[in-house]
């Protein structure tokens, strides 16, 4: 907790008490956390307490060259960095009127979907861990690592790829990487039955997650819920299909939905989405070798890149929901203002504060994780 947020309060005799619910980490001063007021083990009210994790991104971006921000944006969300790169790049492309070469568009879609697979594997593990079931988390992280290997081959880095730049991507795919990705996908698919045994068909898990943190469609819409969380309420909205970018209109995929709107529905939607992403990746693997040409359009010297004045909103379907970048240029070498419309800040602040009251203390972590909120993106 930030010192200024700490207020010693003289309470009258009460059955309520306040619990600081968040990471206690000696190296992180003020991560995102929750302040819960409890009566017994029932949450009375809940406040999100934004912290200092990866702070000040939007402001820093105003002080950096357009190209330098490529190195900054993936850090906004650690588990799913590619949509950050993609959305920022697309916003700059829209401002500058840049044409992205076809091959770059396919490569970017490949990166985006592979990142979604990563993020969902991470999510299953995380959701299970909030119920105290850590095996699932180890499995998810281990399998995700195989995709990180592919990322390392393509981009030279495992987590923060800094690979998608305005105009295209930074390097062409190394030889044979599509075959290796294909094998990894086979493997991930073959692992799903094991995940089912341990997690998705686990009666204890189903019992624990059903009816927890339920959102109605109306609530979801009025609180700005997007992505899998919205689809778990039965509304099949997906930016990839409803406002297609890159080559998504050339791809064949379904938008899985659930109707219950609770934590379990959100997890089931993501399980289906993982399969859909693998389906998309297979289409990309089949098509990409046939798409030739450059991987980036001609760019001006990045040290003196005068991006024309204007303002744009670019959006992407990230694994967590709609990710948008609102970028304003007044002409010149640096952005004038960048605002990130991150799904996590919606889900982990506005939605969570409203969903929390009434739930039990042991479900708070589960509700938060089932919304797939990413703390650095909240704190940004």
């Amino acid at each position: 907790m930030r010192p200024e947020n700490y207020k010693p309060v003289q309470h009258s005799a009460s059955h309520e008490y306040e619990l600081y619910f968040g990471p206690n980490h000696p190296g992180i001063e003020g991560n995102y956390a929750l302040k819960c007021v409890l009566s017994g083990d029932v949450v009375q009210s809940l406040r999100a307490d934004g912290g200092y994790l990866h702070r000040g991104f939007e402001k820093i971006m105003e002080e950096r060259l357009w190209i330098q921000n490529v190195a900054l944006v993936p850090r906004i969300c650690v588990p799913d960095p590619v949509p950050m790169e993609e959305t920022y790049a697309r916003a700059v492309e829209m401002l500058g009127g840049l044409e992205i070469p076809k091959r770059a568009q396919w490569i970017r879609a490949l990166m985006l979907e592979a990142s979604r697979v990563c993020a969902h594997l991470f999510y299953f593990g995380g959701h299970a861990a909030t119920m105290g079931m850590y095996s699932n988390m180890f499995w998810g992280v281990t399998d995700r690592d195989l995709i990180l290997d592919i990322f390392e081959e393509i981009t030279g880095a495992r987590i923060y790829h800094m690979y998608i730049t305005p105009g295209g991507v930074r390097r062409d795919l190394p030889e044979g990487v599509l075959d290796r990705l294909s094998k990894v996908l086979d493997y991930v698919e073959s692992r799903l039955p094991e995940f089912d045994n341990l997690f998705f068909d686990n009666a204890v898990v189903i019992n624990r997650a059903t009816g927890v943190g339920t959102l109605t469609t109306e609530q979801a819409l009025s609180w700005g819920v997007t992505g899998p969380n919205l689809r778990a309420c039965g509304l099949p909205f997906d930016v990839r299909r409803d406002d297609p970018y890159l080559i998504y209109d050339e791809l064949d995929f379904d938008i899985p939905t659930e109707t219950a709107g609770d934590a379990w529905a959100r997890t089931l939607v993501r399980r289906e989405e993982l399969l859909q992403s693998i389906r998309i990746l297979r289409q990309i693997i089949a098509t990409l070798p046939k798409v030739g040409g450059p991987i980036r359009c001609a760019l001006p010297n990045p040290l003196a890149w005068n991006v024309p004045a204007g303002s744009v909103y670019a959006r992407t379907e990230s694994s967590k929901g709609e990710l948008g970048f609102f970028v304003v240029s007044k002409g010149g070498a640096k952005p004038w203002r960048v605002h990130v419309r991150g799904p996590s800040s919606m889900h982990a602040v506005h939605v969570l504060e409203r969903l929390g009251p009434g739930s039990r203390l042991e479900d708070v972590a589960q509700i938060m994780f089932s919304l797939d909120a990413c703390p650095p993106e909240v704190d940004r």
């Binding site: 950096r64 060259l65 190209i67 330098q68 921000n69 490529v70 190195a71 900054l72 095996s135 180890f138 281990t142 290997d149 390392e152 081959e153 981009t155 030279g156 880095a157 923060y160 800094m162 730049t165 295209g168 991507v169 930074r170 390097r171 062409d172 190394p174 094991e194 089912d196 045994n197 341990l198 997690f199 068909d201 686990n202 009666a203 204890v204 898990v205 189903i206 019992n207 059903t210 219950a260 450059p294 991987i295 980036r296 001609a298 760019l299 001006p300 010297n301 990045p302 040290l303 003196a304 890149w305 005068n306």
Partner: protein, 601 residues
């Protein structure tokens, strides 16, 4: 919805019998384009600092290395990048923007050390621990961050060029200038290479931001002959430009011209007068020769409040810029603009006043606080091969001067030019234009001692001369002029085997068996020029210290006589921008000297 099973999760117990997914103790080899610790090829690195500029974490410092030698003309600074791994985020933008491609990231990724200083390294080819890890992320032509291609410059077609002496280069359009200016990486190699240390990065940046007035202000900090230099500068800056390592250097000269062309003459005059000392200092300086060195010196001194009088033998100012450079390269009205800016600061120019004839050096010495001579190289040298005393053997510099002065020149139907430098090209191309006007056909042969790949003239000049129909014959030295009775009919040459001896001295070797005759009514000699020092008079010539054919000067341009300075081509060899630099140097020295003296009554 499925209610799930209580037993099925227990199947995961089978994992107890499987090997664990753990890391091996040996480091795992990184991917082929992994972004690990930096490596830098010090031989290829030029110390431009572009990596430090693009670095978004300010993790790169440029560190001066005393053992390395600076080479401003080649565009090499004696400094190399040092990386702070407390800041680096391994984005590799430094690699993608490096103008030489010297910096790369290796496949080495493990470093553990309790001492923070071990995280701050000066990478060389061997990497952070000297372990010679293979390169990972390195330069890829697919995604170079530099714009290596120059904007095209419009110029007249050869046939159109030959019809007149009109300026052949069109100059940048505003769009092209903006694009060209945006290529600059602001490394400052050009500034170091320029004899006058012009602020090219600053004026290019100003042009990029659309502020032509600021660009001209930056230009006038160091060069009052920017209309001229924007057209005919020898541009050491472009030779040193970092972008030239892998691509085409920035067209700095044309950008300067664009800046000057963007403003009207009144604006330029106003900018040149900014910051000038308005109170007269009471000191008087005489300058002999209204060329680039003399007028630059006059400009500086006038700005400092001194009364400057320039003595010029010819009817117009400019010296070799006017009487040596043909009008198709430098229109006279552009030169007049530069001169007018200088005159507008109160510099008095006395035309058609030949020092040594109309007024003696001794008079100047007595009447002024200081005297500067910058008389240039206006006397042509001769090969002195037999027959060169014929009246139809002329010096290139005399030909060019006569054309400028408007003296009627007997245009030869066929001409032979001896020489392979820029003056030879000027003479040949001027003759080509005169011949086109008089006869409608070009018949000029240019005989150069050097082979085609080692011509002294600019490659552009050679190309343009060829386009205009000048026939260039390489590796041939003159043996004699062929005189038939009184009439010159041509030049006989022999093949040149080598130009310099093994000590690097000029000592051409000829194959006398291989002779060739080049027909011509006129032979033009363009093998170099010298100064006419007759203005000094016997007494002063006797008193001065000489350095071969030139007066000896100190580093400030002062001769052995304390009242006399010398600058420009006459002491440094032919080049406008060197003359400008020398003018500044002499002006600074004169100013320091006369300000400590009593005012002349």
């Amino acid at each position: 919805m499925s209610k799930g099973s209580f037993l099925r999760p227990l199947k995961a117990l089978a994992y107890l019998g499987r090997p664990a997914v753990t890391l091996p103790m040996e480091p795992r080899p990184a991917a082929p384009n992994y972004r690990g610790f930096h490596v830098n090829d010090w031989e290829a690195c030029i110390g431009c600092g572009t990596c430090a500029q693009i670095c978004d974490n300010e993790a790169i410092d440029m560190v001066d290395i005393p053992e390395l030698k600076a080479d401003p003309l080649a565009g090499i600074k004696p400094r190399r990048p040092a990386i702070d791994y407390g800041r680096c985020c391994w984005c590799a933008l430094c690699v993608d923007i490096c103008p030489t491609g010297s910096i790369s990231l290796s496949r080495e990724y493990v470093h553990v050390g309790p001492d923070l200083n071990t995280y701050y390294i000066l990478p060389d080819e061997k990497g952070i621990h000297g372990l010679n890890y293979p390169k990972g992320w390195s330069k890829s032509p697919d995604a170079d961050l530099l714009d290596l291609k120059r904007q095209t410059m419009g110029e007249m077609e050869p046939q159109e060029r030959l019809q007149s002496f009109a300026e052949m280069v069109a100059g940048f359009t505003p769009e092209a200038a903006l694009m060209e200016a945006s290529r600059c990486i602001q490394c400052g190699m050009c500034h170091d290479a320029c004899p006058s240390h012009m602020h090219a990065p600053e004026y290019i940046r100003a042009l990029w931001s659309g502020d032509a007035e600021e660009a001209v202000r930056q230009i006038y900090r160091t060069n009052p002959f920017s209309e001229v230099c924007g057209r005919v500068c020898t541009r050491r800056c472009e030779d040193a430009c970092s972008l030239g390592n892998r691509g085409e250097p920035i067209a700095i000269r044309w950008l300067k011209r664009f800046a000057m062309d963007s403003l009207n003459h009144e604006q330029v005059r106003r900018i040149a007068a900014e910051g000038r000392e308005l109170a007269p200092s009471g000191r008087k300086v005489a300058i002999v020769g209204a060329g680039p060195a003399g007028l630059t010196c006059a400009y500086d001194l006038a700005r400092q409040g001194h009364a400057v009088t320039v003595f010029e033998a010819l009817p117009h100012a400019g010296g070799m810029m006017r009487y040596g450079i043909p009008e198709y390269r430098l229109p006279y009205d552009r030169l007049d603009d530069d001169v007018d800016v200088i005159a507008s600061l109160g510099v008095e120019i006395r035309y058609k006043t030949r020092v040594g004839h109309d007024i003696s050096m001794e008079r100047l010495r007595d009447q002024f606080d200081a005297v500067m001579i910058a008389i240039g190289l206006h006397k042509g040298r001769s090969t002195r091969v037999p027959g060169t005393n014929n009246e139809n053997v002329i010096a290139a510099i005399d030909l060019l001067r006569d054309v400028t002065l408007g003296v009627a020149v007997d245009v030869p139907k066929k001409a032979v030019v001896i020489g392979g430098g820029n003056v030879a090209m000027d003479a040949a191309r001027t003759l080509a234009r005169l011949q086109t006007r008089a006869y409608g056909a070009v018949q000029v042969e240019l005989v150069a001692l050097e082979p085609a790949d080692a011509m002294l003239a600019d490659a552009d000049e050679v190309r343009e001369a060829k386009e205009e129909g000048v026939v260039i014959v390489n590796s041939r030295g003159p043996r004699c002029c062929i005189i038939n009775g009184e009439r010159l009919t041509g030049l006989e040459t022999v093949r040149c085997l080598s130009i310099f001896d093994n000590q690097g001295r000029f000592h051409p070797l000829y194959d006398h068996e291989d002779a060739q005759v080049h027909e011509g009514d006129v032979v033009v000699e363009a093998i170099g020029q010298m100064s006419d020092f007759s203005l000094l008079g016997d007494k002063l010539t006797e008193k001065l210290d000489w350095n071969g054919p030139r007066p000896r000067i100190d580093q400030d341009g002062r001769t052995s006589e304390p009242w006399l300075w010398a600058a420009g081509d006459m002491v440094e060899g032919p080049d406008v921008i060197h003359a400008v630099a020398a003018g500044h140097r002499a002006a600074a020295s004169i100013h320091n000297e006369i300000m400590v003296r009593e005012k002349t009554p």
